[in-house]
Symmetry: C2
Subunit: 371 residues, 2 copies
C-alpha cells in the first residue's frame, strides 16, 4: 500500500511494502509518527518537541529524543535527501533503498549541519513495523544520585529499554507546579521513567526484570500502560516549559557522557551549581548518557546571569573531562559556538571549515552558526 | 566491567557499563562479536565474511550483512574514529558517547569511503545487550519468485526479523555440492532463512506468526535453534565460495531495490541471464532488498565472459529503473567505477570529488578507487 497525500500535509508518500516515507521538510514529526502508526508503521525518532518540531529541523540537528537508546537518532532513519546548494544546484544524496554505499555518504554530512551547507527540500525516511505494545515503569528515588546509579543495573539486565529517562527533584516539582498536581508522587526526590516495547509476553517479563534491578533504594515503583503511561510521557515532555515556574530563564545544555560516568556528571553539576549559588534542573535521556542540564536564573539579576554563564563553562569542562560531548542532539547554533574547541581538535575543526568553504564559499548558508 | 586487552588482539577495551568497545582496525569482526558475547554484549553487524573480514575493512565499506534488516549497517555502530590524513595529521572524529552532534559528522564521511580519504587507526564502537535467544525458520519454495513474493507478507506481520535471507535454486545446489550433502532439502527450488531474536516467549510467538505468513505455496517449513540453526547459517555463509562448483568465475554484484520491487528484480535477472545465455545465482539480504546477483562464467570462454559483462550492465540498468542502488554493502572499488554515474547525479559526484581533492589533494589515498 502506498498512500499519496502530497496535497495534504507535506507527506509525499508512505509505503508499507517498502517501509519508507517521502516527506517535505516542514512535516511536523508527531504528525508523521501518527500517520505511520495508522499504517502499522513506526518512525522511531521522538524528540520531546515532536508536536512542534519539523522533520527538516530534526534532520538539520540530528535530533535524538526519548527512543534513541534503542532506536538511534534521526540519522539512522534518513535514507536519502534532496538539498539545494548555495549555487542553486539541486542535489539528490543517498537513496530510496534501505542500504547503499555508492560514493561518500554526503547525506550524513548534511544531517546535523544546522543549515550551514544547504537547504533540505525533501527526505526519504526509513520506517519499521510498529511494536505491538509498550509498558512503562516509573521508579522514584530519594535523590538524583540514586537514580543515576540505577541506570547501570537496568542496562545490566540485558534488556534494551525503548526509553530510559531521568528527572531530578527540581524537574519533578516544576512539572507538578506547572500542572497544578503532584504527578510523580510527593516523596519523589528523583525518578526514572522506563519503557519497554515488543509483544505483550515480552514487555511483561522485561518490566519484571527491570523492576528487580531498580528495587534497591527505590521509594516507589509503578507500572502503567496506555493512557496512564501517555500521561507520564506528557508530563515528562512538559519539563522544559515548566522550568519557568522556578526561575524565568534557563541555560539549557545538552551534554552526553559515557554511561558509566552519569553519577559523576550528576554530582558534578550539583557541586558547580552550589559553588555558583544557582538553582538547576537535570533531566533527560539517561539511557544514552544524555542529560539536559538546565541552569536557572533571572535575567533581571545580572549577577545571577553572570554566574550561570560561568557555571555553563564549568559544566562543559566537567563533561569533556568525563570523556563526553557538549551537545548530544540540540546542536551548536550560536550559543555553544564559543565552546566547541573544548571538544573538537584543531585539525578536525579545520577540516570542517574546509568543507564549509568548499560547499558555501560565499558563506551565505546560516552564516556564523555551528562551526 | 572494563576489560583491557590491548596486547592480545587489537581490542583495546570493552565496557559493559558504557556499552562500548575501542578497537584497532585489524580486529576480525567475528572475534569482536565473540568477545562481546562473552560479556553479554552484542555487536550486531554481521557480514557473511565475519570470520575473515576486519573491523577496519567493515568501516571502510560500511559493511551490512545478515542482521542489517533489524540492526542496521556498520555505520550505526561507529561512535568515533581516529584517522590519519594524507598530510600525516591525526584526526579524532566523533566521540566516545552514544550520541553527539558537535560539528559535521566527518566520521560518516570516512565510513564507506573505501580508504580514499585517510587511514582508520582506531574506532570506538557501540554495543548493545545480547538478545536472550534466537529462533530460525527455514522455508523452501518451488522457485525464486515465490520466495521473493513471500518477503512482503513476512514484513507485513509487524515483526522485524533479525535476519531475512533469500537463496535461489543455484545457490542452494552450489552449497549442497560444496558440502557433499543436501543441506536445504531435495525439493527446494528456493529458500528463505528467517531469524527472530528476543526472549524465548517472544521468539516462539513471532516464529509462529511468520510461519503463518509464509505458508502459502511453501514446500517445507522447519524451525531450528542452537547448533542446528548455526549449521544453516554456516551453509548460508558458504554460498559465495560454493558457487565455484557451478562455474569457476563470477561477477558478484550487490544491488538493492525498494522492498516491493524484489519480485521484479528476481524475474528481471532471470530474463537477462536467459538472453545472455548465462548461469547465475541470486542470494542475500532480502529483508533489506539487497540481493547478491552472481553472474557465473568461465574465463577460458571469452564469449561467456563478454556476455557476463554485458549482463552486469543490464542488471544495473534494471536496478536503477526499479529505484535501487548498484551497491548495498560491498562498495565501488575498481570494478564498479564505470557504473556509478548511472546512479550518482553529476552534481553529487562533483561534490564528492571536491571533498576528495580537499582532503587528499595529491591523490595518494587509494587512488583510482570509489569515485
Amino acid at each position: 500500500m502506498v498512500v499519496s497525500t502530497e496535497k495534504m500535509d507535506g507527506i509525499v508518500s508512505m509505503s508499507r511494502a517498502d517501509l519508507t516515507a517521502e516527506v517535505e521538510p516542514g512535516v511536523i514529526t508527531g504528525e508523521l509518527k501518527r500517520r505511520a502508526s495508522e499504517m502499522g508503521l513506526f518512525y522511531p525518532p521522538d524528540p520531546a518537541s515532536s508536536e512542534f518540531s519539523s522533520i527538516g529541523g530534526n534532520i538539520s540537528e540530528n535530533a535524538g529524543g526519548l527512543r534513541a537508546i534503542k532506536y538511534g537518532s534521526t540519522s539512522n532513519y534518513v535514507l536519502g535527501l534532496e538539498v539545494v546548494l548555495p549555487t542553486g544546484a539541486i542535489l539528490w544524496l543517498g537513496r530510496h533503498t534501505h542500504k547503499g554505499v555508492v560514493g561518500y555518504s554526503l547525506k550524513d554530512l548534511f544531517i546535523g549541519s544546522e543549515g550551514t551547507l544547504g537547504i533540505i527540500t525533501r527526505a526519504v525516511l526509513r520506517l519499521i513495523p510498529m511494536p505491538r505494545t509498550t509498558s512503562v515503569l516509573l521508579v522514584t528515588y530519594s535523590d538524583a544520585s540514586a537514580s543515576a546509579s540505577a541506570v547501570k543495573g537496568i542496562l545490566g539486565t540485558g534488556i534494551l529499554p525503548s526509553a530510559l529517562e531521568f528527572m531530578d527533584r527540581a524537574s519533578l516539582s516544576a512539572v507538578s507546579a506547572y500542572r497544578g498536581t503532584e504527578v510523580f508522587g510527593e516523596k519523589a526526590g528523583s525518578a526514572l521513567l522506563i519503557e519497554v516495547d515488543g509483544t505483550e509476553e515480552e514487555t511483561g517479563k522485561a518490566i519484571e526484570k527491570i523492576r528487580a534491578a531498580c528495587r534497591e533504594g527505590a521509594v516507589s515503583m509503578e507500572v502503567s500502560h496506555g493512557p496512564e503511561a501517555e500521561g507520564l510521557w506528557s508530563a515528562r515532555r512538559a519539563i522544559s516549559p515548566a522550568l519557568a515556574k522556578i526561575r524565568p530563564f534557563k541555560l539549557n545544555e545538552d551534554v552526553v557522557v559515557p554511561l558509566s560516568k552519569l553519577p559523576e556528571l550528576v554530582s558534578g553539576v550539583d557541586r558547580i551549581a552550589g559553588e555558583m549559588d544557582l538553582r538547576y534542573a537535570n533531566f533527560g535521556h539517561a539511557g544514552d548518557g544524555n542529560i539536559h542540564v538546565n541552569l536557572l536564573y533571572d535575567e533581571k539579576d545580572g549577577g545571577e546571569h553572570e554566574r550561570a554563564l560561568r557555571a555553563v563553562d564549568m559544566v562543559f569542562d566537567l563533561v569533556i573531562r568525563l570523556g563526553g560531548t557538549i551537545s548530544g542532539e540540540h546542536g551548536v547554533g550560536i550559543t555553544k559556538l564559543a565552546y566547541i574547541t573544548k571538544e573538537l581538535s584543531p585539525a578536525a575543526h579545520e577540516l570542517m571549515r574546509g568543507i564549509k568553504r568548499l560547499v558555501d564559499p560565499n558563506n551565505i548558508m546560516n552564516p556564523g552558526k555551528a562551526l
